[in-house]
Amino acid sequence: MKKLVDLQNISKSFDGELIIDDLNLYIRENEFLTLLGPSGCGKTTTLRILGGFETPDTGKVIFEGTDITKLPPNKRPLNTVFQKYALFTHMTIAENIAFGLKIKNKSKSYINDKIKYALKLVNLDGYENRMPDSLSGGQQQRIAIARAIVNEPKLLLLDEPLGALDLKLRQDMQYELIRLKNELGITFIYVTHDQEEALTMSDTIVVMNKGYIQQIGTPEKIYNEPENAFVADFIGDSNILPGIMIEDKLVEILGAKFACVDEGFGNNTPVDVVIRPEDVELVAEGQGTIQGVVSHVIFKGVHYEMEVMANGFEWLVQSTKCFHVGTKVGIQVDPFNIQIMNKPASEDEEAIGVDE
């Protein structure tokens, strides 16, 4: 796939604080790319630089080979869907959607056709003469999307567009967005702090923290093979333990030796180990690699969530089988499900604290 956008060496500070530090990222045509990270990680700023609402302190923004870094937003061949919709409250829905087209001096019939088409696309036929204030949040969101895509941009930027919607609506909208992207063939760059959303919708996820890119990959790769403690902790639930890589395919955790599949970390190297709660198998007392006692059980619907105290560590376990509090159990993990990571090279690769 061709490169559509290339961000080169982008840095940006606000009030003396460095928000983005030497960012390099390219986005391919027809990709659904998500910038994922906690508040303040720089994802929205990156999006705003792409949109032209901020100018980077250093670096270039290349769009289809052309340097658009200094180009103002109204001249860029891309469109943005804003976080709180930003609809023009003094105009009707039709006028909102027609806005960009009128600026481009399109003919009346062209505009009318486009409005009909856009409303149909977002399942809001017949809403032409309504006012934005009379619409629900979800409807306003769809109009904001319609208003943007009607200009046939090659690239659509979405800044946490689903944040204000309730869960069910959000899930519906996620499927809508994927459908739209496939139907229109536009490249989407999506910003969110919700990792489930990112996993559901994206072709590629860019995990960011403190202005750096922590990892780029497909949802499966990011989830199953996080490269550092931050990514492991941010995506999904995880057990992150300190370990020692004794040799290739063998790691010592909490004093016990576990077989794993990773190589190339050297001998007797301290590492971080990630094991997903759904990959922790609870077996009968005496069996398995280490022994423990169940300390908490919560029924979550899709599974039971249990905490097991073993070898001094509180393991998070998710299973459809229930083990009651106080039961003595054994823990074993399939070697394939043990992910080895290098210890954090800097503060921003460290896992964020409990309040994540």
Binding site: P72, P73, N79, T80, A86, F88, F99
Partner: protein, 270 residues
């Protein structure tokens, strides 16, 4: 707990001190000294000197309002783009001159505008021709603009600040340049502020007598001067009230406009 009882003190006060006095103006305006009904007090507006005073007041207040609007709008735009922290500082800076007495502030313009005043002295030393607008209607307009500019700036500034920044960004994102964004987005969305500003400037300007006394010399009489003289010098309250009724027409139109555009009862000043 009938909270509506609590409205009694205020309603009583309003009736006694707001409604009844206004009714009295109408009573005096529509009667003559013997108490008989008459329209002569109102029709007196048609005399040469009265109509002259009225038209001059209308002319000057319209001109001042327009000047205030032209000066205030760009200023409000610049101010609304500043930091959020600086908001109360802005309000502060514009309210502050009101703490210097209104008469003295206006009077100070005499010192600045006189033939031998400050401005002319500065111009003379720069070798430029002097200005001579003291005691002319030009000076009165200046006085009006000076006193009422904050009342135009603050509502417009408030209106503009309330516009979500992303709405402006959205317009630019959709291709609008600066001017188009101003015309199609900022102007329509700041209309409540503009209307509020106009109503807060036009009426005080129309009815002033102080500014014309201080800056116009005794020669220029506005309708406000005429009415004031009827009450404090001539003692013809009936005539004064009659002329006031004419003024009230303008004021009532003003109030209606405000009532229509300010349905929530929150003046856009604060």
């Amino acid at each position: 707990m009938n909270k509506k009882i609590l409205s009694a003190p205020y309603l009583l006060w309003s009736v006694v001190f707001i409604i009844i006095p206004l009714l009295m103006v109408f009573y005096y305006g529509l009667t003559d000294k013997s108490g008989a009904f008459t329209l002569e007090n109102i029709l007196a507006i048609a005399t040469v000197e009265h109509s002259k005073a009225l038209w001059l007041a209308i002319k000057l207040s319209i001109e001042s309002t327009i000047i205030c609007l032209i000066l205030a709008y760009p200023l409000s735009m610049i101010l609304s783009k500043l930091n959020v922290n600086q908001h109360s500082f802005i309000v502060f800076i514009f309210i502050l001159p009101m703490w210097m007495n209104f008469l003295l502030r206006t009077l100070a313009w005499q010192t600045l505008l006189e033939k031998t005043g400050v401005i002319n002295s500065i111009l003379k030393t720069l070798g430029l021709p002097g200005i001579n607008i003291i005691n002319t209607s030009g000076a009165i307009i200046l006085g009006m603009v000076y006193n009422f500019l904050p009342f135009m700036v603050l509502p417009i500034y408030n209106s503009l600040s309330k516009i979500d920044k992303n709405v402006i960004n959205a317009a630019r994102d959709l291709g609008a340049n600066g001017f188009q964004t101003f015309l199609k987005i900022m102007l329509p969305l700041s209309t409540p502020g503009i209307i509020s500003g106009i109503t807060m400037v036009f009426v005080p300007a129309l009815t002033t007598f102080v500014i014309s006394t201080l800056l116009g010399g005794s020669k220029i009489l506005l309708i406000g001067n005429v009415i004031e003289q009827e009450f404090t010098q001539t003692g013809n309250w009936h005539l004064g009230s009659g002329l006031s009724i004419v003024l009230m027409i303008f004021i009532i139109v003003n109030m209606l406009i405000t009532a229509i555009t300010d349905k929530d009862g929150e003046g856009t000043m604060l």
